[in-house]
C-alpha cells in the first residue's frame, strides 16, 4: 500500500519531471492538443494543462480556463494508458518467401523505451490491471504488451475534479488511486503530497526535494478526494449486473438504443479496457516479404463477427448488446469483475451522447 513520502512544493514540480526523465527515460504527461488533454511526451512543466478544467457531458468535451494554479484539475481526456501498452497498431511478425518457395517467419523485435507517465488516474490504473489480466495472465502471455507494460513507471494523481460523466466511485475504481502506481500525488494549491506504492517508487522519491507533509495538509487532501467521490452524479445500478443483464437479453431497450447508436466504435476506441484487435497482412509490393500486423478493432463493425457464411451480429441492436453485456456481465465470468472502471469516456466521446449508466439503469429497472 501507499507509503507517505513527503511534500513537494509546486515551485519544485520541475524537479520531479527532471527526475522522471533521469537516465534517458521517456516522460509522458498530460498536455493540451486539439482542445483536449492528451498524454504526450513531456519536456517541461510549462506544457502541463495549467489552470484548466474539463467540462464533460454526453457527447461533449470542452476545456475551460479556471482561476487555479493547479495542473491536474481535470478528470480525463480521450486517452487512457491503453495506447501505451496495447498499441493501436503494431507489427507482430514478418514472413519472407525465398525463390524456392521456402517461408521464414521473423518476429518483430521493436525496442521499447523505459517510460514514465505523469498524471495517471485511478480509473486508468484499474483499467490497466484489467488489460494485464487479459494480455498477460492467460495461457499465452502477450510479449509486446509485456515489454511495454514492464517499461512503465507510473505517477498517479488522485482525482479531485471528476467530470459530470465520471462514475468511478460507483464502480469502486476511483477517484483515489489505491494500487498499481509507483508514485501517487495529491495536488493542492501549494504543491503535492507524495506517496510511493512500489520499491521503485520509494527509491524515486528519495531523489526528490521533499519536505515533511503536515497532518493537516494530508487531511485536507484526503477530504478533497472524498468530496470528488461524493459529488459524482452518475452511477451504475450495481457493481455486478451479470444476472439482471443476462435476464434481459431480449429487452426492448436494445432496439431502442440501436435507433440512436451510430455503431461508430468511438466508445470502444476510448474505452480503457476494450481489447479487441484485428490481424491484418501488409505484403510488400515485390511479394517477397509480408508484414503481419494487429490493430484495434471494434465489436461495432460488421467484420468483427463475420464468418464465411454469415455475420453473427448483423445489426446495431446485437452489436450494442454485445458491447454492453460483455463489459458489464460476461466480463465477470472472464475476469472476476466488471469490465467498466467508470471513466465515463464512452459517454463523453459518443457522438450522440449515449450514456452507459443510463442504458444500464433502463435495462435493469423493470422486471421483464
Amino acid at each position: 500500500m501507499a507509503r507517505l513520502e513527503g511534500f513537494l512544493a509546486r515551485s519544485l514540480l520541475h524537479e520531479l519531471i527532471a527526475a522522471l526523465g533521469a537516465g534517458g527515460r521517456r516522460v509522458i504527461g498530460p498536455q493540451v492538443r486539439d482542445g483536449a488533454v492528451v498524454y504526450e511526451p513531456l519536456e517541461s512543466e510549462a506544457q502541463l494543462p495549467h489552470g484548466l478544467h474539463d467540462v464533460q457531458a454526453p457527447g461533449r468535451y470542452r476545456l475551460e480556463q479556471a482561476d487555479t494554479p493547479r495542473c491536474f484539475a481535470w478528470a480525463d481526456g480521450p486517452q487512457a494508458l491503453k495506447p501505451l501498452v496495447f498499441s493501436p497498431r503494431e507489427r507482430l511478425w514478418t514472413s519472407e518467401r525465398a525463390e524456392d518457395g521456402a517461408l521464414r517467419f521473423r518476429e518483430s523485435a521493436e525496442s521499447v523505451e523505459p517510460t514514465a507517465v505523469l498524471g495517471v488516474r485511478a480509473c486508468d490504473l484499474a483499467a490497466l490491471a484489467l488489460q494485464d489480466q487479459h494480455f498477460l495472465e492467460g495461457t499465452f502471455p502477450d510479449p509486446s504488451y509485456r515489454a511495454r507494460r514492464e517499461s512503465l513507471f507510473l505517477v498517479a494523481v488522485h482525482c479531485t475534479h471528476p467530470a459530470d460523466t465520471c462514475f468511478c466511485a460507483s464502480t469502486g475504481d476511483g477517484p483515489r488511486a489505491e494500487a498499481g502506481f509507483d508514485v501517487a500525488l495529491h495536488e493542492l494549491d501549494g504543491g503535492f503530497i507524495v506517496s510511493s506504492g512500489s520499491p521503485a517508487g520509494h527509491a524515486f522519491c528519495g531523489m526528490l526535494p521533499l519536505s515533511e507533509a503536515s497532518a493537516d495538509l494530508c487531511v485536507s487532501a484526503e477530504a478533497e478526494v472524498d468530496q470528488a467521490a461524493a459529488g459524482q452524479q452518475r452511477s451504475l445500478p450495481g457493481q455486478d449486473l451479470r444476472t439482471p443483464l443476462m435476464q434481459r437479453l431480449e429487452h426492448p431497450r436494445w432496439a431502442e438504443v440501436a435507433e440512436r447508436c451510430l455503431s461508430c466504435g468511438n466508445c470502444t476506441a476510448v474505452c480503457p479496457t476494450c481489447f479487441c484487435h484485428a490481424e491484418v497482412e501488409l505484403p510488400d509490393i515485390d511479394g517477397r516479404s509480408s508484414d503481419h500486423y494487429r490493430q484495434w478493432d471494434s465489436c461495432f463493425t460488421e467484420g468483427h463477427s463475420r464468418l464465411s457464411g454469415f455475420v453473427v451480429r448483423p445489426d446495431t441492436r446485437t452489436r450494442y448488446r454485445q458491447w454492453l453485456v460483455h463489459k458489464l456481465a460476461t466480463w465477470h465470468d472472464q475476469y472476476g469483475r466488471s469490465g467498466c472502471v467508470g471513466c465515463g469516456r464512452c459517454v463523453t466521446w459518443c457522438p450522440v451522447g449515449i450514456d452507459i449508466t443510463e442504458e444500464a439503469h433502463a435495462l435493469c429497472a423493470d422486471r421483464t
Binding site: R97, A102, L103, P143, M246, A278, P283, H326, T330
Partner: protein, 286 residues
C-alpha cells in the same frame, strides 16, 4: 522431451512455423484436403493434437484462417485439414499443391471428449461442412473400436451433391455396430437417403438415449433443433457436445472476435459441453 528445446520454439505465440503440403486431395468441387508436415524436425517431433482442435493456417501475403484437424492424433507428423473454398485465403489455398509451403501455428482449443466418453454409444450429428471436425471422431472411434459401443453417424447437407466422402459413408454403413443416416434438403439423382433436415433422421437412429455421447457440428439452427429433439427423446444436456464456429483471428484468446458470450471459442472451445453455451445459443447475436 516435449517442448524442452527452447531454441526450436517460437518466442512469440503469434509466430507461425513453416509447413509443407505433402498431399492434396480434391474431396468435391470446392472442398479439398491438405496433408501438412512441419518442416522443422524438432517442431514436428513436439507437435501433438486432439481431435476437434484446430490450427491457424497462413498464406504468405494473404493472412491466416482457422481450420480444424481431421487426421488421427496417432500420426501427428502428418496433419490433415479439410478446407472449403469460401474466402480470400481459402480460395488461394485451393490453388496450392504438394511441395508448396504455408504457415502453421497450433493446435489450439479444446477438442472432443473422446477419453471421457469411452464405453458409450457415440452419436455424431453434422450439417454441411460440419462433417470435417467430426470426421476426426469417426476415424478415432473406428481405430479404437473396442473402446466404444455403437457409432451412429447422422449427416445433413443442403443438396445431395454437397455430400463429400460419399464412398466413405457407404463403407462406414457396412460396419458392425455402426449406423449411417444421411439427409439432403434437396435430393438428386441416385440419392437413396432421406430428404429434409438432419433432425428428421433422429427417430431412426438406434442408440441408447440414456448413455450415448452426442457430438454435433454444423449450422447453429440445426444444432439448436437437434439439441431440443434429443432432449425430448431423453438425452440429457450433459451428454451433448457442440463444435462452434466464430471469427478467430489470433487463436490465443486475445483478439476478442470469437467470444460466444463469456467463453472464447478459440480457447474454451471450439468444442463445448452444451450446458456451457446454451444460453448464448438461445439468443441470436452472441
Amino acid at each position: 522431451m516435449r517442448g524442452s528445446d527452447m531454441s526450436s520454439q517460437p518466442v512469440s505465440p503469434y509466430l507461425p512455423s513453416e509447413a509443407e503440403i505433402v498431399e492434396r486431395v480434391e474431396e468435391s468441387p470446392g472442398v479439398f484436403t491438405l496433408s501438412l508436415r512441419l518442416t522443422d524436425p524438432q517442431r514436428r517431433e513436439n507437435y501433438a493434437f486432439q481431435p476437434g482442435q484446430f490450427n491457424m493456417l497462413g498464406l504468405h501475403g494473404l493472412g491466416e484462417v482457422p481450420i480444424s484437424i481431421v487426421s488421427d492424433p496417432r500420426r501427428p507428423d502428418l496433419i490433415d485439414h479439410t478446407v472449403r473454398e469460401v474466402g480470400r485465403v481459402t480460395r488461394a489455398m485451393a490453388a496450392l499443391g504438394p511441395g508448396d509451403r504455408i504457415g502453421l501455428r497450433g493446435p489450439y482449443g479444446r477438442g472432443w471428449p473422446l477419453q471421457e466418453v469411452r464405453g458409450r454409444d457415440v452419436v455424431l450429428i453434422t450439417g454441411g461442412l460440419g462433417c470435417a471436425p467430426v470426421v476426426s471422431v469417426i476415424h478415432y472411434v473406428l481405430r479404437r473400436r473396442d473402446d466404444y459401443r455403437r457409432l451412429v453417424i447422422l449427416q445433413g447437407v443442403k443438396h445431395s451433391a454437397d455430400l463429400i466422402w460419399r464412398d466413405r459413408y457407404q463403407e462406414w454403413a457396412g460396419l458392425a455396430d455402426t449406423q449411417v443416416l444421411l439427409a439432403a434438403d434437396v435430393g438428386g439423382p441416385e440419392w437413396a437417403w432421406g430428404i429434409g433436415p438432419v433432425t428428421t433422421l433422429l427417430g431412426q437412429a438406434q442408440f441408447d438415449r440414456a448413455a450415448a455421447a452426442v457430438m454435433m457440428c454444423g449450422p447453429e439452427p440445426m444444432m439448436r433443433a437437434a439439441g431440443q429433439a434429443l432432449e425430448e427423446q431423453g438425452v440429457g444436456e450433459e451428454s451433448l457436445w457442440l463444435s462452434m464456429e466464430r471469427n478467430m483471428q489470433c487463436a490465443l484468446g486475445h483478439c476478442g472476435h470469437c467470444q460466444l458470450g463469456a467463453p472464447f471459442v478459440c480457447r474454451e472451445g471450439p468444442v463445448f459441453p452444451y450446458a456451457e453455451i446454451r444460453t448464448y445459443l438461445e439468443h441470436r447475436g452472441f
